[in-house]
């Protein structure tokens, strides 16, 4: 058994044991099994990382033949190249941290074994997704993480809001998945294969192929790229299909950290990076990615500024950071996007789990208006949250600084209108990010306690089982940027990424980013500092300012606070008409036509026929004879009718 097989299947094994035998081995047993499996997987992933990245041992490992039908062959294979190895390392490390953290966080829950099982299932599906070597397996993993996400968002299934959020996440993702499925099919039609390698080798030959889509002749590669991107938009909560992500915070906090911050939501980024050979020949698609990413970054940050639920603030922050990654992809800075993905996974998981620690300390309080003044009581969490926020705001020498600056520089270095648009969006978002991050820190930890005495007397530092994973993640948030900078985006990036990313020479924005003017490099730091300063002014020194601002800019605040009314608009445009249509089909279509006329109608009719027929069975012999004679007459008539008299 090779090392990659072990990494992928350990979580599956853990899931099966915890899920099927959770009752037998108990909560403690399930936690032990899943956590140890994930930790082993994480260690192995580090070994694999060294093996692949340093020694360049990329490979494809076949697990089993999956589909073999005529010329259509699809294997169940693990594609181990630099891109997937980076993802594997991030997934397993964050996932093992979250697993261990969950042992403490979920300690009062009734279904801990099930929770651990779902976490492991998610990890397996995510690993399936990133190790896919063909479109089918990619889709399998993609849908697998969707299911796991659904199960985990709705984990507290006694809460109505959790169920609704789970369904919402699933349905909104269906919209994106619809595009993804079409994109995969388009690839299959264009390239007549679902293997990644042969697709990427054929891209150049197909760069001018036109494709008949909905009656229009469109550029084949652009169409495929845009459809794939539609899937990414859904999964990565980009503008348009983002509404599920904030609601997904109904799930337990470890879930938010693992799935809705560090890994699953970055699947879209991974997808685009994986298909970089294709996107490179679809410039229009790249422009769309770029603009949408830039818009998302600002849009989400404006909302994050006004929210009061601690998890929602971080959720909008996640969305905003994903926007950064996408506009990096849009300017062909795939390495930079992956870099930010990696650093973001660490510091955002840290922030989420830190928030979880706060919530845990505050007796499940999530509203920041009811917090404050607790930094002395939970100093470790406080420090860790600071580290996460500094990294998020892109302060120098923290992880986020390297990746975020690289993205902004690459966008600037693109020297197109789209790149510049994204650059300025990124700068605005950087200011807002710093602002809401310190707003969060100040409201949560500083000022006067706003919680009641009972809650305040309970405030306590989290147990070691929760703090240790946070420390591990904090290490990532501190050093991942500095340490991996040369590989992901620096001088040795070509050797680092090998064949897994393909960038046209004229699109090498990461290279050009090293030669941008000095002010471009410094601007993000200054706007970040500005944001932090503004937050201190508004929330610590002059707490009356926010209220006055809200009053002065009431319409704008209302817009931001209500999330630009996207949910309301979707509700009006899509949800309500769908319900009306659904209830029409349910009541009239199903009830009246199919049920009354079809199912029930047929069975009632059968009953009637049966009753009529049994009425013939009178028990009188002469009736029976009569029927026989009539039968003979009918038969003879039938013959004469069919064959004639002559």
């Amino acid at each position: 058994m090779s090392i990659e097989t072990a990494i992928v299947f350990l979580p599956l094994l853990a899931f099966m044991i915890a899920f099927l035998f959770g009752k037998t081995i108990g909560d403690r047993g399930a936690q032990l099994v899943t956590c140890s499996a994930l930790i082993v997987a994480a260690v192995l992933a580090c070994v694999l990382f060294v093996d692949v990245i340093r020694d360049g041992n990329t490979r494809v490992t076949e697990v089993a033949q999956w589909v073999s039908s005529g010329s259509f062959v699809a294997g169940w294979t693990l594609r181990i190249d630099q891109l997937s190895t980076v993802m594997i390392a991030v997934i397993t490390i964050v996932s093992s941290c979250v697993h261990v953290y969950s042992v403490g966080y979920m300690s009062h829950d009734k279904a801990q074994a099930r929770f651990m099982a779902y976490l492991s299932l998610f990890t397996f599906a995510m690993l399936m997704l990133v190790t896919a070597d063909n479109l089918l397996q990619l889709f399998f993993g993609w849908e697998g993480v969707g299911v796991a996400s659904y199960l985990l968002i709705g984990f507290w299934n006694y809460k109505d809001t959790a169920n609704k959020a789970a369904i919402k996440a699933f349905i909104v993702n269906r919209v994106g998945d619809f595009g993804l499925a079409l994109g995969l099919m388009t690839c299959y039609v264009l390239f007549d294969t679902i293997q990644f390698d042969s697709i990427f080798d054929q891209v150049f030959g197909q760069k001018d192929t036109m494709f008949d889509f909905l009656g229009y002749q469109v550029h084949g590669l652009t169409l495929a790229a845009l459809l794939l991107f539609m899937g990414a938009v859904g999964k990565s909560a980009q503008l348009g299909l983002h509404t599920w992500l904030p609601d997904a915070m109904e799930g337990p906090t470890p879930v938010s950290a693992l799935i809705h911050a560090a890994t699953m939501v970055t699947a879209g980024v991974f997808l685009v990076a994986r298909f970089s050979p294709l996107f490179e020949f679809a410039p229009f698609a790249l422009q769309v990615v770029c603009v949408l990413g830039g818009l998302t970054a600002v849009f989400a940050a404006t909302i994050g500024m006004t929210q009061f639920d601690i998890k929602r603030v971080i959720a909008y922050s996640t969305m905003s950071q994903l926007g950064y990654m996408f506009f990096a992809l849009g300017v062909s800075a795939y390495g930079a996007a992956m870099f930010h993905l990696m650093t973001h996974a660490f510091f955002k998981a840290l922030l989420f789990l830190g928030a979880g620690s706060v919530i845990h300390a505050m007796s499940d309080e999530q509203d920041m208006r009811n917090m404050g003044g607790i930094y002395k009581k939970i100093p470790v969490t406080y420090v860790l949250m600071w580290i996460g926020s500094l990294a998020l705001a892109g302060m120098p020498f923290f992880a986020g600084y390297y990746s975020k600056d690289m993205i902004l520089e690459a966008a600037y270095a693109d020297h197109t209108n789209f790149g510049m648009f994204a650059f300025w969006c990124g700068i605005i978002a950087a200011f807002l990010t710093a602002f809401y991050s310190w707003r969060l820190l100040i409201m949560t930890f500083h000022g006067k306690p706003r919680a009641d005495d009972k809650v305040m007397s309970h405030v306590h530092e989290s147990p070691a089982v929760m703090v240790v994973p946070l420390v591990v993640l904090a290490f990532g948030a501190l050093f991942a940027g500095f340490f991996f900078y040369p590989g992901f985006v620096g001088e040795i990036r070509a050797e680092f990424w090998g064949e897994s990313l393909r960038i046209l020479p004229e699109n090498d924005t990461v290279g050009a980013a090293h030669h941008v003017p000095q002010w471009v490099k410094l601007l993000p730091i200054f706007v970040g500092l500005g944001g932090i300063f503004m937050a201190y002014v508004c929330y610590l020194w002059k707490p009356s300012i926010p209220a006055r601002c809200v009053a002065a800019f009431a319409p704008i605040h209302k817009l931001f606070f209500n999330k630009w009314f996207v949910d309301e608009a979707y509700d009006k445009i899509f949800v309500r008409p769908a319900f009306v249509l659904g209830s029409f089909f349910f009541k009239k279509g199903d009830g009246v036509i199919i049920n009354a006329g079809g199912v029930d109608g047929l069975s009632n009719a059968s009953d009637t026929v049966a009753k009529v027929l049994s009425r013939f069975q009178t028990g009188y012999v002469f009736h029976y004879v009569f029927v026989m004679v009539m039968g003979v007459l009918a038969l003879l008539s039938w013959i004469v009718f069919r064959l004639g008299l002559n």
């Binding site: 009953d607 049966a610 049994s614 012999v621 004879v625 026989m628 039968g631 003879l636 064959l643 002559n646």
Partner: protein, 488 residues
Amino acid sequence: MIQSVDVFQDIKTAMPEVATAAFALWLLVFSAFKKHQAFAVASFLSCAFLVGIIVVCFGMFGQYDEPVVAFGGLYIQDYFSLSIKMLIALGTLISLIYVYFDMKQTQIGRFEAPVLMILSMLGMFFMVSAHDLLTLYVGLELQSLALYILASFNRHSYKAPEAGMKYFILGAIASGMLLFGMSFVYGFAGHTGFGVLEEVLNGTTYNVGLTVGLAFMLVGLAFKISAVPFHMWTPDVYQGAPASVTAFFAIVPKIAAICLIMRLLNGPFGGLQDQWVQIVYALSMASMVLGAFAGLVQTSIKRLLAYSSIGNIGYALMGIVAGGADGGASVVVYMTVYMIMTAGTFGVVLSLRKGGVAVEEIADFKGLSKTSPFHAYAMTLFMFSLSGIPPLAGFFGKLVVFKAAVDSGYIVLAVIGVLTSVVAAYYYLRIIKTMFFDEEDAGMDEIQIVPYAAQHGTLVATLAVVVGFCVVPAVLIEYAEVLVRSLF
């Protein structure tokens, strides 16, 4: 075709019939003088004899590569007849086991029962080997007369004689129609032998008189297989007769009758195929539809199985409509499977006694899954098989019939067959629902399980066939194709 030359060869050729006739007569005399335990001894001897007959038929198998005609063309022996006789003897054996234990419990057992069953079987043997209209008629009547008596065997009940009487009167009318039809055919061809009829009728142009004769003959035979609209006797007789006798009715005679129809239609009337297809088509469709729908409202398990048998005959007739070796083979497979399934179903019914008598009402099955899980699960499998659910035997039976019909272009008939089997599935599955999901009524009489190992052994054997058929379905199907070839 080989012509038998002297009377010894005649007897040798007709060995199963000669032996059966001799045994039946000897048994009658022997038992009449036996003072004690006559019923038990006669039953046991009959069982032993039936096993012997199966062995004899099996031993004769190798000598009849070529059909042999004996008794001056009245009688034919071939692969087909020998195989079907083994099947009939097996069915009679199973029925006899049921009859013995059933009558022992209800205390109506008399040695005439096995004798009559053997005689009835003799009639069926002649039907299967008939090579002349007269042999056909004599065989049919012998079989029927024994059945009339068996139906009214329980003289203490008012229902049984009523059933026997109805059966007799209606059967007499059907025989009249059969004879009437034969006279038409004789009038046209001037002969009653199958060989001559085949020569004369092959290539004749359409003749109304001949076709009317054919129609009347088919009506007479349709009565025996209880095809709609000549089925009216079936529910009443099934319900009135003792349960084990009903099992005999359901299991055996129909095989003989349907095989007789196959020989008749493919041999002498083979040239009139486009005419008899019209009739059989109508009978098939009507039987499937009525069997499915009329069964829906039944509350008696015996009446339900009566309608089930009516419906199943419709499917078998579909195989005859399809024609050719494939169609013929499908009929043989279908009837074999049907025989086993029905035998098993009756085995369950007869194992459950209420006040000594086999259960009558479907409601008696309530809560069976708790009181006797083995019988509940066995019944479940038989019901699934009867509704044609894979991988049980009943599925393959239906599959071959539908396939033959579709291959011959009778798609409408096949579709109707599929649809009616959906309707019929309702009443089969309802029994399962009753057993597993309905609570026992308070104060319901206790259901006793019979203690007899032989009966349970039979039940287990049929169950094994129904479940194990899917392992080697091709064997029986290919074998059936081989043996129906001797019909053409």
